[in-house]
Every structure is written in C-alpha cells, then in structure tokens.
C-alpha cells in the first residue's frame, strides 16, 4: 500500500469541519458573491426574455431551418445533460468503487448535476414549435380516444430518461443533504433559520438505526444511479443513433456519448471548484489540489476515449463502404463546417494532453483554462454531430447551412445565467461540502491524533 496524501488538510477537528463548511451558509454574502450573483441573475433574466420572445414569435427566430431541424436548442440540451453526468458519476460510481476522495467534491458535483439537468430540461421543452402542448408527450388518459404516445420514439425515451434522471438525482442529492441540514438546524441561532432548515432536514436525528437505513439507501441509490446515468446519455445518444442519417446512425454513440459526458462533466466540475476554492478559501483544505489532480486525470483519460471515438467513427465510415456515411465524415472534417470539427478535435483531444505533466495537473490556472476549453470543445462536439450531419444528408438538392441568429447566441449564453444563478444560490444556502461524509475520512492519510 502506498502512502497517500491526506484527503483533508490542516489539523482539523470534527467541530472545525462543521464550522468551516457551515460558515458560508451562516454569514452574509460578500461583495464578490453579490457581484457574481447579480451578473448571473441578469444573464438569467436575459435568457428568460429571449425565451419569451421566441415563444411569442415562433421558432423561426432561431437558426434552425430546412434541412437543419435541430440546432442550438438540442445542441445545448445535450451539452448540459452531458455536464450533469459528472455529478452522478462522482457521487454514485465512485461511491460504489469506494473512492474516498469523492466525499469533498460530491456535493457540489451533485448540485451541478441537478442544475445542469434543470437547465438542460428547458431546451427540449422550448425547442418545439408549440411548447404549450409539450405535455402531450406524457401518456396520460385523455378525451381523444384515448390517444397515447409513440413509445418507439427516442424523444419519448428522453422524456422518461431525463425525468427519471432528474428525479433520482434530486432525491440522491437531497438524501445526502438531510443530515447536513440537521447540522445547520442545530447550529441555528435564528428562529426562522431553525424552522426552515428544520423542515428541510425532515427531523433527522442521526441515531444508529437511522444511519443504518440511510447508508443502505444511499448505497442502493448509488447502485441504481450508476446504470441510470449510463442509460440517460445512452438514450440521449439514441436521439441520433436511432435516426437514419449518415453521421447519426452509429452504434458507437452510446459509449461515445457517455465518455463525452463524463469528460465535459468533469471539465465543468473543475471549472466550478476552482472558482469555489477562490470564493471560499477555507474550502481549500477540503477540496485539495489532490482532488483536482485526480479529476484532471479523469479528464485526460476521457479525452482520450473521446478521441478514440472520433477516430473510430472515421474508420468505420471508411470501412463500412457506405457512400453516404463516407461523405458525411469527409464533409465534417473538410466541408463548410470544418472549423467546428477542428475546434472540437483540438479542444477535446489535443488540449487535455497537457495533463500528462504533473505540474499542469496541479496548476490551478492551467486546469481552469483547460476545463473551459473542454466545455467549448464539447459544445462543438454536439454541434458537429447535430448540424453537420443534418446539413448534408442523402439528397444533395437539400443541402443547406445553419442560419445562426442572435437568438441562438442569447439562448446559449443565457442558459449559463440560469445555471450559475442556481449554483451561486446553492453555495450560499446549502452546505457545499458534505459534512457527514467528510468527517469519516478526516483521518484518511493522517495519523489519528490521540486524546
């Protein structure tokens, strides 16, 4: 067994941990936070306005057209759903693998998942021509015969997958939060606060019987969330893979999408946690540079996986001998959207290779920049898949170009406003690190100080 670095730095006691983590929740927000929050909020309001204008006027304001029926909305949907995957992966999969380092970052990663899924969930709703009728996608009894839904459509699978994923993610997250809410409740000096967190904590006590059931459920949820998280992006990839378009109709899509999702999710976790570390310097003891390094290793690995998928797509297109498929891939790399393809390729495959160097892995500025590149690259990956496959398919007479409009930009950037608003609120209102989970790993990598 190798000696490992301590997961939590500094000579902390249990009380220190409680105090450190509860502190942001219990004090008034600082200027930095306020500035960020109001910027995010402004962006969020801008987003809502843009969505309202589009709903009022019509989908025609977006860049989608004939033949490109899906554009920014679906691209960004897949982007956010992908980001959501890292949270569940960290909390569920790493839990099952007994990776103790996950405890410090799991909470924020899960929060990111929930908010990313919420942000993502808006897109399929607003991308339809008549969003006020979106509820028709649910199989509910009705006066039309009853007329049901088409369970053969990947979009319906999406409805079930995304809503199940959102539900389970929120439940998982919330179950994790319950003991911590109880902690805040018990520390509360203010009656109102006590009441609110009392309700949120559901009256948690922390008796061993409670903990016994709790841990069992936590493990079960982890066990359920793991196949779920794989299935969700698999099903999202089915939106494309089940269709018949060259460039979409590919069996590699499920694993490729899942790898891409983990990749982009970790990218976003690194982006957010570097910011959290700056915003809350005390958290540096919990979210240590070692945590960041581990995540950077995952980014590099999944980056290679994604790169493998890109190459294998090209190989299969050539090997299949199918002219439409071959053309689609030549067109991706060399056609009018070559720049999108090469942005994707460089950001996702080349840039993360810098993490072969330990110094880079442990450098906060480098990892921050790389994580941003990763997210840009991953957005372009979805753009490449969606738009460049659609813009030139079977009949050359139909070929066309995407008509990017300012509304596309508004929707894309505005969605970050929604995500960041939620995330910043979360940082203030919820314990950003799992108190109850960090305490058991206090002594990992350290000699237990005797009393």
């Amino acid at each position: 067994m190798m000696d490992r670095n301590p997961l939590i730095l500094g000579n902390k006691t249990y009380k220190d941990i409680t105090d450190d983590i509860c502190e942001p929740v219990e004090r008034l927000p600082g200027k930095q936070w306020m500035l960020m929050f109001f910027s995010a909020k402004a962006l969020f309001l801008f987003y809502l306005t843009s969505v309202a204008i589009i709903l009022f006027t019509g989908m025609g304001l977006m860049g989608t057209n004939h033949p490109i029926g899906w554009g920014t909305d679906i691209v960004t949907f897949v982007f956010w759903i992908g980001i959501g995957h890292a949270g569940t992966l960290i909390s569920a999969v790493l839990f099952l693998f007994r990776q103790k380092w996950r405890t410090s970052v799991a909470r924020s990663a899960e929060a990111m998942t929930v908010f990313a899924v919420m942000t993502a969930g808006i897109f399929p709703l607003i991308h339809t021509g008549r969003p006020w009728l979106d509820f028709w996608l649910l199989p509910y009894p009705n006066q039309r015969g009853p007329l049901w839904v088409n369970f053969r459509s990947p979009l319906l699978w999406d409805v079930f997958a995304v809503s199940t994923y959102a539900t389970v993610s929120i439940v998982f997250w919330y179950v994790g939060l319950v003991p911590d809410f109880a902690t805040i409740r018990d520390r509360a000096k203010n009656k109102m606060r006590k009441k609110i967190y009392g309700i949120l904590s559901l009256g948690w006590r922390g008796s061993t019987r409670n903990w016994s059931h709790y841990e069992m459920v936590y493990m079960l949820l982890a066990g359920l969330a793991t196949p779920l998280v794989l299935s969700v992006h698999t099903i999202v990839s089915f939106d494309f893979a089940v269709a018949s378009l060259p460039g979409w109709h590919t069996t590699i899509f499920p694993p490729y999408f899942v790898a891409g999702a983990i990749f982009s999710g970790f990218g976003m976790v690194v982006t957010l946690l570097t910011l959290v570390r700056i915003g809350f310097p005390k958290f540096k003891d919990y979210i240590t540079i070692d945590h960041m390094e581990v995540m950077n290793k995952i980014i590099m690995t999944t980056g290679l996986l994604v790169g493998y998928a890109y190459c294998s797509e090209l190989f299969i297109a050539w090997y299949s001998g199918m002219k439409y498929e071959q053309y689609a891939f030549i067109n991706r790399a060399l056609g009018p959207y070559w720049w999108a393809y090469w942005i994707m390729f460089s950001c996702n495959v080349f840039v993360p290779q810098i993490f072969w160097f330990r110094a880079a892995r442990r450098s906060i500025p480098i990892m921050f920049v790389v994580s941003i590149f990763v997210n840009i690259g991953m957005w372009f990956e979805r753009f490449v898949i969606t738009v460049t496959s659609l813009h030139r398919d079977f009949l050359p007479s139909n070929w066309g170009m995407y008509e990017w409009s300012i509304y596309d930009a508004a929707i894309l950037f505005g969605s970050f406003g929604m995500f960041l608003t939620l995330f910043l609120l979360y940082l203030r209102a919820f314990p950003a690190i799992s108190i109850a989970e960090v305490k058991p790993v206090l002594y990992v990598g350290k000699k237990r100080g005797g009393h």
Binding site: F151, F172, T208, H213, P227, E437
Partner: protein
Amino acid sequence: MAKRQSGVAGIWSDDQLILEAAEKMRLAGYKKFDAITPFPVHGMEEAVGIKRSTIPWVTFFAALVGGFCGMYLQYWTSAVSWPINVGGKPMFSIPAFIPVTFELTILFAALASVGTMFFLNGLPKVDPPIIDPDLTSHKFALWVPDSEEGYSVEKVEAFLKELGAEEVKRVAEY
C-alpha cells in the same frame, strides 16, 4: 417510533470511545438503546446490535413492479388500447420498448427505497426535540429510552457515567 419517550443520554466527544461504550452497553444487556452520531460511525451498527436493513428487498420488488408497469403500459397503449401502424413497425415493438421499461424500473426502485427509508426512520418529523445541538456536529451520544427493560433513571445514569460519558442528560421527551 411513534410516541415520544423519556430517557437518559450520555454524551461523548470521540467516536472511538462511544463505539467501545456502545459495545459494552449491549453486552450489559441493554436492548433498546441507540447511539446518536453526527455521521455514520463505522462499526456502530454491530455495537448497538442492529440487524442489516431490509430495504434491498423493497428495492428489488419495486424494481420488478416498475419494470412490469413500464412494459405493460407500453404494450397496452400501443397494441391494445389503440394499435396504430407507426413506421411499418409491429404494434408490440419490444426492442423499442426497452428504454422506457428500464427507466421506470429504476424510478420505481429508487423512489420506493427512499420512501421506505423515510418510513422506517419515521421521517419526516416536524420539529422533534433534540438532546444536544452538537450531536449533529462533533458530539456523540448513547440514548437509553424508558421502554428499556428494567429501566430506571439512576441506574442508567450510573451506567453511562461508568462507561465514560462526558455528560449525562436526563431527557424528558425524545
């Protein structure tokens, strides 16, 4: 869990010490006592003498029900209630029905597990009394309710002190 009980609690500030104390308490024949800790202390279940949780069974059966409901919902709506020729595919297109079946399996299982956990733990509770606010932060307690066989406040107090409790509290209602 339903009724509130009175009892005695002993408080420790080290998880190792309370683990030993709980072990001793169980060996001394206490059956209904419980430990209250801010985080799950490794080994405490065995020390207090709690059997493995039965929730996995609930999960398993909920998963079966979810899977069945998912597949049946799709079969019934697509092939029985109003069969419609969609894309030249069979009415009961099993391969296409797998994803939804799977998702409902997971959903039922997850929700049922959490629900059961809440039920078994008596959650949610509205504003329950607490023994000590630090018990969710850095202190640990052993709690002996009045329903314990041969319960007497003094005896329990004495025993807790003997076990090394840093503080012993009489609790009127918990």
